[in-house]
Symmetry: C2
Subunit: 368 residues, 2 copies
DNA sequence: GACAATGCTGCAACCGTTTGCATTAATGGC
DNA sequence: GCCATTAATGCAAACGGTTGCAGCATTGTC
């Protein structure tokens, strides 16, 4: 029933190779023939079978995008940016959700491997060694994880965490909790490391609570623990957890930011809509999506899988781009952070540490 | 570089057809041979090329899922449900986002057509006739839209809107606004129709404002208009708009629900986390995803595209399932609705209209 | 008028699988 | 000991395209 290249060839009285060329190399076919073929194709509603084409060209013009959790509002901007960037280069993006499950991740890479020209692995939860192994099956670009030998797009959450801690210390907080995220998250490790050093430098005590699920529920679940721990400020793994925490603290009668200050990470749309509006570390998710697609396509164009040309043997894998891009994060100060127990009565004009939350330049402060 | 069936055949000293059978019809090959082939395959890291297989079997074991906007938290539960249901049937789901753009929808169906066994079209924005036309290219199941001749999964937003209006009328509201959604949305039309009749029946005046973008921004944008219109209650196209509206009303100094009551639709997670918590019509998105996948697979198993068997000619398209499933919605009463200007001083024990918001059975009321 | 250059088209091999059919060897029945 | 089964494997044709190469006119040049 579906119309193939042969149907078009028959209808227009030419060989299938001429039809093929009409679409993939129009300059090689006589203008008259071309229009004849095109009209027939149009009439019959012919559309080249991309899978069949990929079989011989080795390029599907599809990209895979594997993410931990679609329900996390952190990802949609990344997805949309990746999609529009891909479309601009005449590629389509297939998104798949793994439910934060490493096994699902692996299975999905396998399933996608032959149907796409490359895969974007966002916030993967599997081990680095497995990722490296999978990268031999299909070109990979990793987002939010550093894997040696593979192109990576990272957000500087280290600087972000540091800025957040400095901000809190500057407000007079000395006892700060870090709400950890998923166990296998690179971001989580980075934040923990950076927050630790920043706290030590600022003379504050950092308590790590976690790991936790990176969701509202995960944040809400530690509210009781936060209250008992006696800290006056919290840096959460992401906005979702921060929001869940604030909500639950409120239910427990703990006021934010009067009694406890809370900082999130990501600056999802939602963080502007809750009350109090969330102070957070903005991560450039859109830029990450675009950059990742670019890196994938660049690496990919250099070495198409099905290449039969001369240099295809030894050159493969040699010119592999292994760039590592680090994107800058910004601290966005809103209403969920306020003076802590050690706050100086009046703000000094030149604060010795960290960005001054009352600085006239506006609330958006680059952390890089 | 990628290892093919030929490599495995060579390594294990058998013909490629034997290798093929080892995977797709193991009972046809000698146990000894089988283990030999399997070990070789394992050693070489062989994985069948699904695209090549699909070329001849006509089944890709992939499903496409096209949705209007990934960023809308309404969809993730649907996506996840569809994915897990598909996985249970050994299918993979590729998700694609159209940014509410009808042209992108069409293009995506074309791109997916040959790479999947069927497509789920969620809340499409294109015309019914175009959908019907596309359905000749690939099996389609439509969600949130009624298209004659095609299998559809619908949520009973009509009943939902009616319940919401009855709830508001019961609270003493007589001037109600309906915040319309996107122009080409079936849901939008249904809500408008049902809300209209319900309002008339309850002796209330219904003002329709819209169409609007179905987002927080869209909701916020009409806040001023809502205030000027003098209505005491609003039914929004979805929770996102309701939340945007509430937020903006608050900024304008209009208190919810004291001065204006607001009802949303969808019951997204977020609606429980804003203040006030949102009264809303819960839609069974997970069930919709599961059902849609089931319908697609059922229709699909009956008539694989590449079928070369006897009845493949005339039977095709005859047994097409055109079921229409209508899923029930629930009114969930929370804190964003309260007594209106015409409220009776004390709630009568037996309210003559609509569900009593204080009924002891709990806040979840089936509208079907 | 012979010859080379050029433009267009057809031929056929190939991509990685599946599958109906033929072939072969082993088994069982008589 | 012969023939009919049966089990296991190989052969080759598909699936829907792409592409290097060859063929054939046509044109231009001398």
């Amino acid at each position: 029933m579906p119309v193939t290249i042969r149907d078009v060839a028959r209808a227009s009285g030419v060989h299938i190779s001429t039809v093929s060329r009409t679409f993939s190399a129009p300059h090689l076919v006589n203008p008259d023939t071309r229009v004849r073929v095109l009209t027939c194709a149009e009439d019959l509603g012919y559309r080249p079978n991309r899978a069949a084409r990929a079989l011989i060209t080795g390029r599907t013009h599809n990209l895979g995008l594997i993410i931990a959790d679609i329900a996390n509002p952190y990802f949609p901007p990344l997805i949309k940016a990746a999609e529009s960037q891909a479309r601009r280069r005449d590629y389509h993006v297939f998104v798949a959700d793994t439910n934060e499950d490493p096994t699902a991740e692996e299975e999905l890479v396998h399933a996608l491997a032959k149907q796409v020209d490359g895969v974007l692995l966002c916030s993967p939860r599997m081990s680095n060694s497995l990722i490296e192994q999978l990268s031999r099956e299909v070109p990979l670009v990793v987002v939010n994880r550093q894997v040696t030998g593979l192109p990576c797009v990272l957000m500087d959450v280290g600087q972000g965490a540091r800025s957040a801690i400095e901000h809190l210390v500057g407000l007079g907080h000395r006892d700060i909790a870090l709400l950890g995220g998923p166990r296998n998250s690179w971001t989580n490790r980075e934040m923990r490391r950076a927050a630790g050093t920043a706290a030590r430098a600022g003379g504050a005590e950092l308590t790590v609570l976690g790991p936790n699920a990176p969701t509202e529920v995960g944040g809400a679940a530690v509210a009781e623990q936060v209250r008992r721990s006696g800290v006056s400020a919290v840096l959460a793994y992401n906005d979702l957890m921060a929001i869940g925490l604030v909500e639950r603290l409120d239910a427990l009668g703990v006021r934010v930011p009067q009694e406890v200050s809370v900082v999130g990470v990501d600056d999802i749309t939602l963080s502007r809509l809750t009350r109090p509006k969330l102070t957070t570390v903005a991560t450039p998710t859109g830029a990450a999506g675009r950059t990742a697609v670019d890196m994938l396509l660049q690496q990919d164009v250099e070495s198409p899988r099905g290449a039969r040309g001369p240099g295809s043997g030894p050159a493969l894998g040699v010119r592999r781009t292994t760039a590592r891009v680090m994107l800058q994060t910004d601290l966005v100060i809103r209403d969920s952070t306020g003076p802590g127990p050690y706050a100086r009565p009046a703000p000094s004009p030149a604060a010795p540490h960290g960005p001054d939350p009352h600085c006239p330049a506006g609330p958006r402060i680059p952390t890089g």
